[in-house]
Amino acid sequence: MADAAIKLNSGHSMPVLGLGVWRADPGVLHNVVLQALKLGYRHFDCAADYKNEKELGVALAEGIGQGLVKREELFITTKLWNSDHGHVMEACKDSLKNLQIDYLDLYLIHFPIATRHTGIGTTESAKDVDGVLDIDVTISLETTWHAMEELVSAGLTKSIGISNYDIFLTRDCLAYAKIKPAVNQIETHPYFQRESLVQFCLKHGIAVTAHTPLGGGAANIEWFGAVSCLEDPILQGIARKYNKTPAQIALRWGVQRNTIVIPKSDKLERLKQNRDIFDFKLDDEDMKTIKSIDKRLRTNDPTRFWNINLFA
């Protein structure tokens, strides 16, 4: 059941559980990916900015070589970095080369903002003389999107999408898109439910991938001082009721509200746990209870590194 999937507006199917690889340790990801393949994971969520496309690519090639999986069974996502908005085709080809594949399943615009180009695949967040992120104001998101659309006709990716877009930007994208975005990948979890945004996307046929679906593990606690929903007493109570872990409840809740979840883990035990969310169903009462614990708490905020509050 780890291969439960939904159909995208592009006609392709996308597994609702994926392995996120942001902040995976170099040298360690390789084996994690192989073990994940053995456990039934088929969907891998990467980005040029994670700087581990190559390691993921080597591991997936090895998995295919060992006969663990076929390319056509995999769903591979990667993302266009902010500094490459003016170089979409080259950036996508660079990612494909790193990943050792000839097409992507999904290519996303990582953030709705273009920044100074620093060379293909360098994924810098260059600062201006004032120490603030050097934002490029000469290229519109519409221009970037049309370049994304060309990737589909060129056969470099099956589907294209957006990431970290709010309702305003998503609406605009729908208006100028010749190919509608298949996915909007956003942070959402029990403490940051964003019901309006999720419903808006779903209503217009855009699937929603929940990044940070556990409300931020160590990374967000360490970098952003976030509070994890996994410690929430209500979530823990529900976990006891179903004999599951709070993480499994958070993921199951994500799946039941029709989002796609991409938890990261490098622990075999947790890779198994995160996968085992298809053998139970939260009842309506519990879904409602979880709705009540929303704190509107964004945990992942790169402001700290860019010296500008993009969510202001």
């Binding site: 340790d25 360690v28 073990q35 490098d266 622990k267 075999l268 035990e269 947790r270």
Partner: protein, 320 residues
Amino acid sequence: MGKGADIPRFKLNTGQYIPAIGLGTWQSKPGLVGEAVKTAIKVGYRHIDCAKAYGNEKEIGDALQDLFREGIVTRGDLWITSKLWNSDQHPDDVPKALAGSVERLQCGYLDLYLMHWPVALKKGAEGTAPEDFAPLDTKATWQAMEKCVESGGKTKAIGISNFSVEKTEKLLSYAKVVPAVNQVECHPVWQQKKLQPYLRSKGIHLSAYSPMGSGGSSFTEHIKVLDNPLLATLAKKYNKTPAEIALRWNVQLGHSVLPKSTNANRLEQNIDIFDFEISEEDMEKFNSIEQVRILRGDDMWVHDKNSPYKTVEELWDGDI
């Protein structure tokens, strides 16, 4: 597989959790240590204590690779410690030595990297001969260690080993990163009565090496920690072995323990200490055990001319 997840962990000042028991690998013979690591992890260990100086990191690394390939555990399930050897204390050599351990251990990164001793040896020194001593500059070495935990470094935490109260205090006077751990000899016959409360007050975790008194070591043949009559009495009372009592005592004080064994039965026995508790009253009884530091280091680190420590008292700042 369930067992590993069940081992209690202690929270470090970095926010990470160190498993309460780890496999010690000092004096584990080449050809045996790889198997010991595999057996240990299969019976539930999740913490391996290594050091460049033990000369067996490559074999441990090969064993880890086998375990990863077989899907017994992934790297993230494990806690791996290694130590900076005394001849690598020059600041330029610290990141290289760390990278060397990571490469031999084939584990991507370390969870914890310790300064092995407050003693410096010349670059490339193989032994511990008097002419091998180098001037000690712990501050420079520690600052290089601190760089290793910055973003992109190959270890998640740093610490010290064999540091007395005075030496730890001095280090704290300039440290920007407080050591997460001080790994020292600790068992019922050398309880670190002075260091224990000090480390606790500073939020530094005590990791106990030779937790059963290093019975197999040539230095200390005459002292048998596990023959202590109190351990025998409590072993009988709790239906455990004296070794299990000694380990449990440390764990109840909040110390992680690093027993070494290459024997499969003993590996299992040593980890079987989480299903009972020594009563408060019995814990008090350990106070009456006569205290002897077994691993004194005098034959290695004390020298009347070349070492910064002219006497064994200086090495331990009188705490012997």
